[in-house]
Symmetry: C2
Subunit: 493 residues, 2 copies
């Protein structure tokens, strides 16, 4: 017991430090003066270095060898600590340091290349990051994490997921998504796009109202503006950010709902897990399932949007959409586009599939970074039936690869798939939910998700979380059924 207690006490401090590092990241995006970037880089490097040193501290392997957990929760804690330790122990210190160093400046280089719409400025960095992360993946794979480098990286974001499993899932999803897209685009129905100008203050007031409606606890969080919306922190300090585009209020609103989903997950984790290995969401995929079910299955539902329509009509002068029905169609307008983050529910996973294949080829060595732009553009034209007009709308659009996030994209689709499963079960358990949604009340849904998903944090493996909540192993079928039913109705297919 003493060994177990010692290990947990040591880990508790590491978790607290990780929270501090996370808060520092929030500050960097939201509050930091622009002249402080270089100094902050060094500060962040120090705390990340301390975290790495603690997570690979040689005492952990001794503690793990001797520790006896008092119960199943303690066993799960030991397993999670062991996993983190073993993953980190696979990576040579030299490589870890170089990855930290290179990726800390890579985002700035990507942002600069993006601002100048210039792939050439980004290529040397992409090559470097790719080489380092491939080396890391190979080291992890050799250490028993995944059958190859890509699998090993994917496993870092979604424990237990494999590229072959994801690939097979995508193969099952693609035909039905493509068929749905074709029918939608061929239908005579053409919902109007939103026009007009929506002042920032009113957008933010509505965003706050909507976050509160979804159950976001303002005493344990706050909303600020940032270039890219994100959620950050765990326990009683979980902050969200949003952005405002005055001609497109959906950007702010649905970004806020999305981040509220992430934040409610973290806020809903049992307080006893704070500063333990169970104190955060179970995986990136499960996390994304919460943001996506809030954003789409609930936030873009017919009944919730009818309430949202009335709030927008009240909040904005001369709101042009004159009926909740029209508003519902506009919110769910299907339109092929270049940008993943702006994609509708029908197109979204097609964007991810493309990135999954490209990044597998990159990490596997079949595709060189210098050939990525051509590969991207060809694949995009094939999958979306339109050319990429500029790199900003092509391979430069996402930050992920610049900071080394290879293997991360599939978790977005896993999130959608998990959300589909959860939504199906939630609807069965809450037959009267629509009445509440029509009044802007998502309380019963949030309570269901808190009970079935949030509360347990990382106590269970990702797929296990969904299976315990739904009673069946996660599958793409509920998501596809939902999409076909929803868009079939809107587009009168």
């Amino acid at each position: 017991m003493t060994v177990f207690t010692d290990l947990m006490a040591f880990n508790r401090e590491t978790e607290a430090l990780a929270q501090i590092a996370g808060r520092l990241g929030w500050d960097q995006e939201v509050m930091m003066p622009r002249g402080a970037a270089e100094q902050r880089g060094e500060e962040s490097g120090v705390i990340e270095g301390l975290l790495h040193a603690r997570r690979t501290d040689s005492r952990i392997s001794e503690w793990l060898a001797q520790a006896e957990a008092p119960d199943a929760t303690g066993q799960r804690a030991l397993a999670l600590i062991a996993r983190t330790f073993k993953r980190n122990a696979c990576i040579p210190a030299r490589l870890a340091t170089e990855i930290a160093r290179v990726t800390s400046v890579a985002q700035g280089i990507w942002a600069d290349a993006r601002a100048h719409d210039d792939v050439a400025r980004f290529l040397p960095t992409l090559e470097q990051v790719l080489r380092l992360r491939r080396e890391e993946g190979q080291a992890l794979s050799a250490g028993g994490f995944g059958v190859d480098a890509y699998d090993a990286l994917l496993d870092g974001y979604e424990p237990g997921a494999t590229a072959s499993g994801i690939g097979a899932m995508f193969d099952r999803m693609r035909p039905r998504l493509v068929a749905l897209r074709e029918r939608v685009m061929g239908s005579g129905v053409q919902p109007a796009a939103l026009q007009g100008n929506y002042p920032q203050a009113a957008q933010l007031a509505l965003a706050r109202e909507v976050a509160g409606a979804f159950g976001y606890d303002w005493t344990r969080g706050r909303l600020d503006l940032a270039v890219h919306p994100f959620s950050s922190g765990s326990g009683s300090d979980v902050r969200i950010t949003t952005r405002v585009v005055e001609r497109d209020p959906f950007n702010c609103l649905y970004s806020t709902i999305h981040e509220t989903g992430h934040a409610c997950y973290e806020q809903g984790i049992d307080a006893q897990y704070l500063f333990t290995p169970m104190g955060q969401g179970a995986s990136m995929g499960v996390h994304e399932s919460q943001s996506r079910i809030y954003e789409n299955q609930l936030g873009r539902s017919r009944h919730f949007t009818s309430w949202l329509w009335s709030r927008m009509d009240a909040q904005f002068d001369h709101f042009e959409v004159r009926s909740p029905e029209d508003f519902y169609a506009t919110v769910n307008r299907v339109q092929p586009g270049h940008v993943r983050t702006e994609a509708d529910e029908v197109h979204y996973n097609l964007h991810v599939m493309m990135r999954f294949d490209l990044e597998r080829a990159l990490v596997g060595g079949e595709l060189a970074a210098r050939d990525l732009e051509d590969a991207w553009n060809q694949r995009f034209a094939h999958d979306f039936g339109m050319p990429v007009d500029k790199p900003l709308h092509g391979m430069l659009q996402d930050v992920h690869w610049s900071i080394g996030l290879f293997g991360y994209f599939p978790t977005y689709s896993l999130g959608n798939v998990y959300a589909g499963c959860l939504h199906q079960s939630l609807r069965k358990d809450l037959p009267a939910l629509d009445d509440k949604l029509a009044q802007g009340q998502t309380g019963p849904a949030t309570a269901w998700l808190r009970d079935k998903v949030h509360r347990s944090g990382s106590l269970y493996r990702p797929a296990e979380v969904i299976e315990r909540a739904c009673g069946f192993a996660p599958t793409e079928a509920p998501l596809l059924d939902y999409l076909e039913a929803k868009f079939g109705e809107i587009y009168r297919l």
Copy 2:
């Protein structure tokens, strides 16, 4: 050389961590959701514990024994690291932990007692904090820092200062300050107090303008609202806070100018000292000299206030003060009052002298915490000629003792004294300064202070900083001369 390099590299990480801890403190006061206090307490405890462990790391004494500095700057770095190490090494770990634990909750208890104007709620905590800090002071004194416990604590804030030296200085200051106060209060001149209501947005706009006028670099800082104004951070991330009282715009304005003084000091330190022992202000007293010279000698000067009057007249509708002369007198209105932070330049040091005597008696054991309220009230009535009407205006007004800051108050008066010296020299070197101040330009004064004080950070001992800047050892005479001349003119003495 390798040993020296190793020690500096280790210390650099410690300094970076200290910056992170400071930013966390800023976040706590300015941004943190109110429900996060308990969680934050644990996070702060972890980073403070890490800092303490690093500052008392046994390797430091080995490194110090062998390190050879390459130059005088390196020697100063070694001396400062040795001082910090030796001070920390005097304090038993048990005591350090208990002080951290007790003072982390003591501020909340004090705030609660203050909110209820109830000394009894605060007394047990005060007794505990006092006992611990006395023990700490005794341990430090036994280790060679100061002749007694109080001296040892004072030396922590103002290296080289002694209670006997401060006491002698106060004995020289008191008669002239009391005489000046008597003459002012007996004069027929009675400047009007400011009336009216000043909207928050306009106050903040003017505060920003004034901070910029004083040379605050907005690319390396930001201004936010907080309950108590403060400045935080070093190098390229130095943030200030202010507060707004709508009926009293001077509160916001002069708090902002005061914190701008602290911030410009940190921003002005040579960038090569960042993350070294020289990378922060030389002492609390020297720091306060910068905030006070900005606030008083410059910010409340006849010429600067003539510009400020025109800006207030432009910023606020129906601004009631109709001439810069009246405004100058109003800004410098002398009025006895209970609260130190609201005191005018004539009364301010009398507030500090009283606290100095009381806290010396507390730490020395001649005064028990339970007798403090009576002692405070008697002394206040004696020194200020008016009774204390409630504890909120008496011994509960300052946060300092609750968080263990015994020995800190004298640095406020030292700051005033240093500011007096610097102002005398600055005026000699910049004969045309008033022409600039009358245009709201403090640039030449800020440049002089940056060159003479800010740039060197902690390269020199506190008194040495002033002596190098002024050409003479710091003395109270210039401050008293300045006060007598300034208020003699305003009150036509």
